[in-house]
């Protein structure tokens, strides 16, 4: 088993320790597909004890607790309406990781016991881990990933957990800590379920070694293969712009900055891109380089003339409005779960 190195404590998120506390028994409504044919409408009783394959359950509308072997279960479809998965996912893609964490913390824990099965709750668990990672809460993220490992010694979710633990070390520039996970970050095919984070990890590895040119090849893979996966492609674009900027390739760097503002408007990256664009513009003026506009972004702004509102401010406002709307949706869902 991989030897997980302890991450610095200062990165510990205060919210998150409580998320890992043991939870009381919970009843989870689900449809369970057995041996490719029978579908049981059940209430599963979580948590499942790590290291066992049995789970207690009740049949809907019938009395009595029964025991089910998860070995016979092919797929579980929990009733996750109360989580508002669409809204949570939208908040994640808007970079509102704290909201996602707040919404899922502790509530997803009962579902940890099913990570070794094909289950719709795995998507939520992944979203939770990804949010912890994106908000740089590496310690709790690692602890939560360790929990996944308890139930899924192998398989896709285990791989997912290991990839994110590896990514955390890379983000900290700790190649030593990353070593146990290095094997997972070998060349990945575009069909691999975690191709984007793996390529991102490869890029990060090269960046830590200050080998930006090679990093850019992996960033380009993300940009070309997963353009609409903005949680990876927006950052990849930003890093690529940084790379071109470092090579005084100002025209290209500037265009990528503008591209980010158009294609990932609801993420955090446009703000950073605008800052970099300003630096690039100043440099270009100093050395007399004519920049090429991308997507008519600034042209439209110029056309707006005096009435134009500061672009950055406009973006921020838009995003906040949207986030607020989603938060309300979530709050409503939590108040009235059914």
């Amino acid at each position: 088993m991989m030897n997980v190195k302890k991450l610095p404590l200062f990165l510990l998120g205060s919210v998150m320790l409580s998320a890992l506390m043991p939870v009381q028994a919970q009843r989870l409504r689900a449809k369970v597909l057995l041996n490719s044919q029978d579908v049981l409408d059940v209430v599963l009783i979580a948590p499942r004890k790590a290291g066992t394959t049995n789970i207690r359950y009740e049949l809907v509308d019938k009395e009595g607790v029964l025991t089910l072997s998860l070995n016979d279960v092919e797929e579980i479809r929990f009733d996750l309406k109360e989580f508002k998965p669409d809204v949570v996912s939208q908040l994640y893609y808007m970079g509102k990781y704290e909201d996602v964490i707040k919404s899922l913390a502790r509530r997803v824990n009962p579902y940890l016991g099913f990570v070794d099965k094909k289950s719709n709750s795995n998507e939520l668990i992944q979203l939770f881990v990804r949010s912890l990672y994106k908000s740089e809460k590496y310690e709790p993220m690692t602890l939560f990933a360790n929990e996944i490992e308890k139930y899924a010694a192998t398989g896709e979710m285990r791989e997912f957990a290991d990839i994110y633990r590896g990514l955390a070390y890379l983000k900290l520039g700790d190649l030593e800590g990353f070593k146990p996970y290095e094997e997972l970050f070998k060349e990945a095919d575009y069909k691999h379920p975690f191709a984007a984070p793996i390529w991102y990890g490869k890029a990060r590895q090269e960046i830590v070694k200050n080998n930006w040119k090679d990093a850019n090849t992996y960033l380009a893979k993300i940009i070309t293969e997963f353009p609409m996966e903005t949680d990876w492609s927006a950052e990849a674009l930003f890093l690529s712009a940084t790379y071109h900027h470092s090579r005084t390739n100002l025209v290209v760097a500037n265009q990528i900055c503008q591209e980010i503002q158009i294609v990932a408007p609801l993420t955090d990256w446009p703000e950073k891109a605008i800052e970099l664009e300003e630096t690039i513009r100043t440099q270009a003026e100093e050395i007399g380089i004519t920049l090429v506009e991308f997507g008519g972004l600034r042209e439209r702004e110029r056309e707006e003339g005096d009435s134009k509102i500061d672009y950055r401010e406009r973006q921020r406002k838009l995003k906040e409005e949207e986030a607020e709307r989603l938060r309300q949706e979530l709050d409503n869902a939590e108040e009235n779960p059914l």
Binding site: T217, A220, T224, M228, I262, V263, A264
Partner: protein, 950 residues
Amino acid sequence: MAVSPTDRTCLSGMKKLFLILAVYVLLFSHVNGQGMTGPEQARLFRSLRDVPMMVTEQKYREALTILDEALPVVRGLISEDPSMKMAYGYGLYMKGLCELELEDYGAAETTFTQFISGFPAHVNAMKARLLLGEAYLYQEDWEGIIRALPGVIASRSATFPERMFAHQLLAEAYFQLEMWEKAKPHLGWLYQRASDREIKFAAAGQLAVCMIRLREFEELYKVMPHLHRTDAKYDIRLNLTILEEGDEFLRDEKPDLALLMFRMVVPYTQLQEKIESRKFVAEERLERLQSMTSGGMGTVTKQIRGLERRLEDIESDREELSGYPDYDMELRIRLGDVYYALERWEEAIQLYLSIYQRRPESELAERAMYAAYMTAFNADEKIRAWEIAQRYMESYPGGEFWDDVTLHAAGLLVNLERWFETEELVNKALEVSPDHVMKDNMLYLQGYAMFMQSKIDASIATMGSVINDFPASAFRIPATYWKALGHLFNQEYPDARTWFGNLVDQAQGGPLREDGFYRLGVACYGDGDFAEAKSTFDRFLEQYPDSHLASEAHAMIGDILASDSQLDEAIARYSRAVDTAHMGEDGKLNMVQVDYATFQQARTFELEGRWQEIIDLFDAYNERFAEQELNYTESTYWKGNALKKLGDKNKALQLYYDTIVSHGDEKKAYGIDFMMRDLAEELNYAEGNQELQVELKERLNSEIGKAIEADQQTLLLRLRGLQYETTDNEEIKKLVKELLIREETIDIASPFTLQQMGRLAAADGNTDLTSKVYEHFLEEYEDSDLILDALVGLSENRILEQKYGEAVDLLQAITDRYPTLPQAADAYIRLGDVYRLLDETQKALEMYTLILTVKEWRGELWPQALVKIGDTHSEREEFDKAFGFYQRVYLMYQGYSSYAAEAYYKSAQMLTKLGRESEAKKTIEEMLENDVLASQPVAADARIFMLKLP
């Protein structure tokens, strides 16, 4: 978003309500019985009462027959009985409903229009508008919808389902009429409010299409990321719209906008899979429902109709998609083109290559790989371009782009100075494509690569092919240049003169003519035709007075004049050579030209002992070129040497010390190494000047101390080396030696120190260290005059290690670099020895024979070479020939007794092999009669040999 009857399910509940109401009105209205006179009317009204039930039971046809008959009667009664109007209104509404259900949309349209105009305030007016909209929908009368529906949306009394259905109809109408701006609010409403996911996502897809058509990219990208996490991304129309728009942007040369489009497209395979899975699900449900239908199950029938319509939609999606067969690869090409236009090379390369990786059999794969190659080439990623070119050549031998790729790749390899691979590539390219469209260019590059590998004969032949086979080629003149240069390198001066002459005559100017003109002079010089050489250089200078080679032409004329003892004229020419040295674009003078002419002047002064002029020359040199990369240490060495010749040895040696201290920490200050050598000599043999010796040694000690203090490692090693060479104290010598021969000092040592280290390590038998020292020497100080030790020492080590190939290279480097020195002769002998070890005796014989062609090596080297030739023939079992060579030695070189004695003994051995034992015996006897030869070590063996003879 095709609005289908299933979307009307929101209305089904309401319809039920209308029906109940209609039943009530028709049964219990006071119409019932009042004013009824005839049995016909009574029958009619009786049957009219059954209509609501018939509609409930979906017996539309029967209901309609009754209504068609009854309604004109009811209408006729309105003037008599106004209460009949209400019954008439309900009847009319029911009629429209039946017509709609019976898919008689034109009739339904007329009926509902009549109803709405006749009963605008009727309780069913809102519903009638929606049903009228539905009738328009099925007739695809989009304007009709736009006329009929806005009232529903504006109405405060409209319920949520009614409002939603109205938005759906209006969105569809505006969308169909491509009134994007008008469609947007309705689609936005549905996207925000609809609870049904199908409706919500369909609206999102259409909204995105509107934004695309309106080119509202920022708005679009607010929607798209969300869309991409849902099934809405599989909307065929959306994807095809994106593709079309992207293409249009590409045609308009707006790659940025095209990128914004293309990046959103869902791969064809995914769309296809989605359609098939949608079809599968719908068909399965339909089958299930059909098996359940057994009379009277109205809701099920409606669901069946809904599914049938959905299947029709799916089929139409399939058909539409089939119009764009497998666009994935095309899309990747286009995206690659877009990134290429935006100069984002990495993205472009990866996209192009992905086509081959995913679909190597695709027709586009070859084109894509060619595009990837060209992108890497233009991005100046040479290694990568070469790798892609190799893959192309492996995958598509003789392919559409074969000639293009191989030509570019050959140019690339030349650029990378990968000569052997260039040569091989051209061979392969022409083998696959004998009629290569750029064969002349390919051969030219191959000839050039051959030249660079010193395959001069092959290069001459290849360039000859270009000249002869392609007389009209643009490469004929360049090929002539390289052919001529090949002959010059081969020292085939007459040929070189001919071809350079051709070049000068035929070329219409250009750098090759300029260079060739100068080299024509060099060829004449090499040919010994100094007069013609001088005349050529003079004509060259006339035509190209500002040439970058003008300095060299002046210097060559200087050399010619000096060899003709016209020393003052020669010096004047050298001086002109210095003045005309080429100034580069970076403002730096060509100091190689300056140094050559300056040091040649010094050598000319030296011939006449004009020491003061040497001192003046280098003072002027140091001052004039102080800002350039002048050779200060060597010029100072010359000055010091001149001072010594003028008798001022003390000043000269102090100058050396000062220069050593100031420049001795520079590893490549080669003049310092000469000074060290002179100082060592002075310290050891100061011709009785004890005081000077002591003074020099004291300064040496003092400078060592200062170098330690200043941490000047290279200087310290040099001074330690000097200390080692000059100390009398064995203890100190031993300690210094230990300091010198350490592996870790290799990197900081100057050539002087490395030479010492190599010699000391070799003396200790430490071949490992010797090799390391000399390898470093060759790597770092190729232009040092002290390199010979390294070449010789390393070649010996390589022979010991049986790395004969490397040994040959090193020995050839000696013969190339020092062709007239005795060390070159030693190298030829060692080369011969190595070739014998390699069993290449013919080459060995050539090496040994070369020595006999140089008159200057006539002394000891000739008999040595002759013995070696004899040995080689002996090994080839050509005993007769071997005997001949041995005999030549003892007959002609008696003075070289060791070789003569060896030759006698070996002659006797050959005679024995030839069965001439008595002659062999006589030969040994003759040898032993000579006292000098009899005292040679080989004589003992000869005596034993003779005793064994019969």
